[in-house]
Amino acid sequence: MISYIIRRLGGAVIVLLGISIITFVIAFLVPANPARAIVGPHAPEALVLQVDKQLGLDQPLPIRYVNYMNNLVHGNLGMSYVLDQPVTNLIEQRVGATAQLALAAWVLELVIGIPLGIISAVYDRKIIDHIASLLALIGISLPVFFVGLELMYWIGFRLNWLPVGGTGGFNYIILPGLTYAITGAAYYSRLLKASMLDVLSSDYIRTAKAKGASPARVIFGHALRNGIIPALTYGGIDIAALFGGVVVIEDVFGYSGLGQLAVQAISNLDVPVIMGTVLFATAFVVLVNVVVDVLYGIVDPRITYS
């Protein structure tokens, strides 16, 4: 078990190194000169060169990468070109908001996805199953920002129940979270349906039924309890998608989290912030996946690591 964890962490380090190289190359492929962007279009050429030197942009790419990684292992992600703050501070200020939003999105996803999945599995191929499946499929087929805008229009603007956008307390998380949940719940409902159908056709369910267990007990006590494991572990894989989805949703709702920071950085060519947010998000995703794999083994003793 320990050796498995060590091996998985080793793999994670390699993945993270690869990600840092790819991000670095993309970030510095930017055709526009960041130094020029900082000093403004009318500043003299000498000033641009000076800023270039200050930022270390006059050095060849591999040396810049080594410098960058050297700073990185010391916990320094550089200074934002535009916001005049260390990138680590910017991430720190916003990570909480994004984490809250992601958590709300995930919970709401389960709240919508699990009942749909149970209904679909219990009424497999009945009309109710078809309706539940179709609803789930429509959810996947909707663009995130369209759902966001409609919720904003109806619940925020017309009914005036919740704030239209912005960052604040609990009320500000519901609409963005719901937006993500509507477009993602289908993944959970489908997984749950498939795994519950597997369980429902197994021998021990027949035994339970033969013993005279009530349908509710069979469905909730046995099928759901065993069938929900794959659906829950999907959450680990889903984290990458969650981050991606949150990027767009934060933009729609003007929610100031990591996603908004990243999108603004991309449009401002604020390279250190782009690098920092992407690296932070991916590192988180990779680590969560390792944790989920390990937890999976603890929860389900049938899995052996070799």
Binding site: I26, A27, V30, F145, F146, Y153, A241, V248
Partner: protein, 306 residues
């Protein structure tokens, strides 16, 4: 849903059968349609989308980019749907219906080309990885892990921003970054197929390697690849709309459903139709591909005999 596809009446069916004994192919076709209504419905929706995209210039009532002087109310507000502008006008006095039709082109173009690029890369890498195994396999799979760990949207947004936004750069970015899932699934399929007797037999008979790979293994893994590609087209259409919504997709004045939604967002309090039409168009288009993909998955599933 099956009853919708049933014959109009048993007698006409009988008469037809007496007049023209049905060929085997036709009866099988009808049987498949009846057993897999999803393929039928999804296929029709996809065909409708292709028709609209191909004949956009014939079906459009106006030039999609022309700003009509009579397309705005005296106070400068967009016009609600009426006799001249059947889906109303946008905030610049352009015809929403015509823009919607041309938006279908952009959407389908990006969806199809992006998916073909990632299909090509993913299938090639997956086959190599699955067939040869060993070191090559570990390298390719590590790269796949890296690609999957990225928050995909953020990655695509960054790459398109760097390459400068245009239709071709969008599908290149999506295609080049989006092959990881295909590679994984193809690899798994190849590993399964390569142990089958007919592959072993081909190897024993001394077939050349490319022949085994592309003439024997490739056709046998096509089913999941086709399903995956169908679903990917829908997903990539969503992604294109997201990029255009964020302003780094198709550039104005070219109409894209995503940019129509982002323009509509400015005035949606008093012109909600500017969101409904492109939003619903996107949903229906993506739903068509999702239904078709799900239907094909069932159709190809050998375990499900009907």
């Amino acid at each position: 849903m099956a009853h919708m596809m049933a014959d109009s009446s048993p007698t006409t069916g009988l008469k037809q059968r007496l007049a023209h004994p049905p060929t085997k192919v036709r009866s099988k076709f009808v049987r498949v349609l009846r057993a897999y209504p999803l393929v039928f419905v999804g296929g029709l929706m996809v065909l409708a989308l292709i028709f609209v995209a191909v004949f956009a210039d014939k079906l459009a009532t106006f030039n999609p980019n022309f700003q009509f002087a009579n397309g705005l109310a005296p106070d400068g507000a967009p016009l609600a749907p009426n006799h001249t502008f059947i889906m109303g006008t946008d905030d610049l006095g352009r015809d929403v219906y015509s823009r919607l039709l041309f938006g279908a082109r952009v959407s389908l173009e990006v969806g199809v080309f992006a998916s073909l690029i990632s299909l090509f890369i993913g299938t090639t890498l997956g086959i190599i990885s699955g067939y040869y195994g060993g070191f090559v396999d570990s390298v390719i799979m590590r790269i796949t892990d890296i690609m999957l760990a990225f928050p995909f949207i953020l990655f695509v947004v960054a790459l398109v921003a760097v390459l400068s936004p245009s239709i071709s750069n969008i599908f290149i970015a999506i295609g080049v970054l989006g092959w990881a899932v295909t590679a994984r699934i193809v690899r798994a399929e190849v590993m399964k197929v390569k142990e089958f007797e007919y592959v072993q037999a081909a190897r024993a008979l001394g077939s050349r390697q490319w022949r085994i790979l592309f003439k024997i293994i490739l056709p046998n893994i096509m089913a999941p690849v086709i399903v995956l590609t169908t679903l990917a087209i829908g997903n990539n259409m969503l992604l294109e709309s997201t990029l255009s919504y964020l302003g780094i997709g198709v550039q104005p004045p070219t109409a894209s459903w995503g940019s129509m939604l982002s323009e509509g967002q400015q005035v949606f309090e008093y012109a909600p139709w500017l969101l409904y039409y492109p939003g619903l168009a996107l949903m229906l288009a993506v739903l068509g591909f999702n239904l078709l993909g799900d239907g094909l998955r069932e159709l190809f599933n050998p375990r499900r005999v009907r």
